[in-house]
Symmetry: C2
Subunit: 208 residues, 2 copies
C-alpha cells in the first residue's frame, strides 16, 4: 500500500518506520523537500492513505497543501491542538470544536478519522509495550474509513476489540482534550509508556 506520512517529528518517524517495516511504500511529507522527504502535497499525491503527524499548529496547512489529491482518501489525524503559550499546556481549540474537525472542513472531500493522538508514539506502533488490554480510539463521519483504519491498526498490533469507535468526528473533541489529562498521567506514572484501558461492569459478560 502507498502511505503518506505528513510530519517528521517523533510521531511521523514512528508511523513511517512501522509502515516501512510492514513492507508498505511510504513517503514522508514536510514543509520543504529534502533528505528522504518530499513536500506535503507530493506525499498526499503518493498516499492511498494519509497520516497527519504534524504539530497541531501546522496541521491544517500541512493537510490543505495536498487538498487536490485527497478526494475520497482516508486521512488519519494524529495531531493535537496543543498550545503552550499561556505557560501551561492548553488547547488552541475550544470545547465546541476540534483540530480534526478543522482539518475535515479544510479538505471536505477527504474522509478524516481522528485516532492514535491519545498515545505515546512508541506505544502507537508497539501496543505490546504496555501491559494489559489498553485501547485506542477512533472518531470519524465515514464508517468505511473507520473500518479501513481498524485494519491498519491491526497491522500495528492492535486487536480489533481494542480499537474503540467513539462515534462521529465531533468525538475528536474529547479525544484531543484528554491529552491534558495524559500529560498529568505521564508525570504521575513517571513515563510516557502507558495507556488507558476501559474497564467495564464487574458483573457484565464483556468484562476485561
Amino acid at each position: 500500500m502507498r502511505v503518506a506520512v505528513l510530519g517528521t517529528g517523533m510521531v511521523g518517524q514512528a508511523i513511517a518506520g512501522k509502515f516501512r517495516d510492514l513492507g508498505h511504500d511510504v513517503q514522508v511529507g514536510s514543509r520543504a523537500a529534502g533528505e528522504g522527504k518530499v513536500a506535503f502535497a507530493d506525499a498526499a499525491a503518493h498516499g492511498e492513505v494519509v497520516f497527519n503527524c504534524t504539530s497541531g499548529a501546522g496541521a491544517v496547512d500541512a493537510v490543505s497543501a495536498g487538498a487536490e489529491h485527497l478526494d475520497g482518501k482516508l486521512v488519519v489525524d494524529v495531531s493535537n491542538p496543543l498550545d503552550f503559550s499561556s505557560g501551561a499546556p492548553a488547547m488552541f481549540t475550544d470545547t465546541t470544536d476540534s483540530l480534526a474537525e478543522r482539518i475535515q472542513r479544510a479538505v471536505p472531500a477527504a474522509r478524516v478519522v481522528k485516532s492514535l493522538n491519545t498515545i505515546n508514539a512508541s506505544v502507537m506502533v508497539d501496543p505490546s509495550s504496555v501491559a494489559g488490554d489498553h485501547v485506542v480510539f477512533m472518531a470519524g463521519d465515514d464508517a468505511g474509513a473507520k473500518e479501513e483504519l481498524r485494519a491498519l491498526l491491526g497491522e500495528f498490533g492492535w486487536p480489533p476489540e481494542r480499537v474503540i469507535d467513539i462515534g462521529d468526528l465531533t468525538g475528536a473533541r474529547g479525544a484531543e482534550l484528554y491529552v491534558l489529562l495524559w500529560l498529568r498521567l505521564m508525570n504521575a506514572t513517571g513515563s510516557p509508556t502507558f495507556n488507558i484501558a476501559v474497564n467495564r461492569s464487574a458483573s457484565a459478560s464483556n468484562t476485561q
Copy 2:
C-alpha cells in the same frame, strides 16, 4: 465525622448515602432548606469536610454561599462545567481554566481538591462494581488535603494505589475535560458503569 454534601442530584445522593452507611454525620445542602436538606451555608457550617456535588453551572455559587465556614476545610469538588447550550456536550470553561480553580478562587481559604468527577455516581461509592484496577484522580494545591481525601476514598473502597495524584489544582483542567471523552465511552460501551485504568510498561515492575 461531620460531612457536608452540596447538591441533591444523583451524585450528591450517592455520596451522602455512602457516608451515612459508613456511620458519618451528614448534612445535605441545597438552594433552599426542606425535607432532609439544609441551605448550602448551613451544610458548610456543619461539615468538617465538604463535597461539592452540584451541577457545574451552580457550583461556584453553592460553595461561595458557605464561604465564611470553609477556612482550612477540605472541599472536594466533584462537579463538571458541562454546557449543553450549543447542542453538543461542551464545557463553559476554556482549556486554561477549570471549575475547580474557579471555586478555589471564590473560597481561597478552603483547601479545594478535584476528584471523582471522572466516574459515574454509582461507581464513585462502589468501585468493586467495575472490574480490574481502574482509578480515580485527585488534583489540588494542598498535599495534606489530598492525603485526607485518599483516606476518605479508602472508606469508599478505593485502594490507595488506585487514587492517582495528578498534581496541583490546574490538573483539574484535564480531569474535567476528559468528561467529554467519558460521554463518548459511555455510548461506546453502552453503560455508565465503566471506568479507566492506567496500564504501564509491560517491562516495568509496577505493571498492573
